[in-house]
Subunit: 135 residues, 2 copies
Amino acid sequence: MTSESINLTTALSAFDALWSPRIVTRVNDYDVRIAKVAGEHIWHAHDDTDEFFLVLDGELRIALREEGGERTVTLPAGSVFVVPRGVEHKPSSQAGAAILMFEPTGTPTVGDRHEPVPARIDNTTGHVLGGPASG
Amino acid sequence: MTSESINLTTALSAFDALWSPRIVTRVNDYDVRIAKVAGEHIWHAHDDTDEFFLVLDGELRIALREEGGERTVTLPAGSVFVVPRGVEHKPSSQAGAAILMFEPTGTPTVGDRHEPVPARIDNTTGHVLGGPASG
């Protein structure tokens, strides 16, 4: 981790891959991750952790399967949302977005339960920003 | 906590108090807090937790007392920094800033060790956004 401040716009310009989060820094045993997204992720759930989303640019939608049925939360740039643990969700962004996430280190992008993972989705616990997996 | 997305600009417009964080949402046992700041905080240290800062608007400076001496990290809007646990630090913003923080629920704003707390600094573990302590 760097001991200098990190500009998120610069950090985002360091990679192009979609649905492939980069770890920009750590807070105790949590990661702060950023990702570029476009199109649809997959339905998945994290059984043991909430997941925090902040939209840095563009608009993100998060479809949720809750007790009462299915609904979609819309997050314009500058808004935040927490998906509670255990809730099946599917992020998407028709026109593309840049997002910041806060979640325990080691949390897989596809959760503990998920649909089959297509090639467009990176099944990862996050890549180090600027590391060899960047692209 | 709301089950809708939260717009940070709207949330910031709900209060005016400086150095008095509002809890916008929770992630497991962590708070996501926002604050308006201007002028100087006080030297303090959190012995048991790192502290994450994201600058939403304006510019924040964080003075640090490290082994090698004292230095100041500058965070323009859109940049992030983590103060490691145990490190004495003093945030400040000459022209004012809006910031977002991640830290464990219950973390006091003045840390575990600190200078005397002047009236301009709110010694708190964060107020609920829109709650009776807002102002």
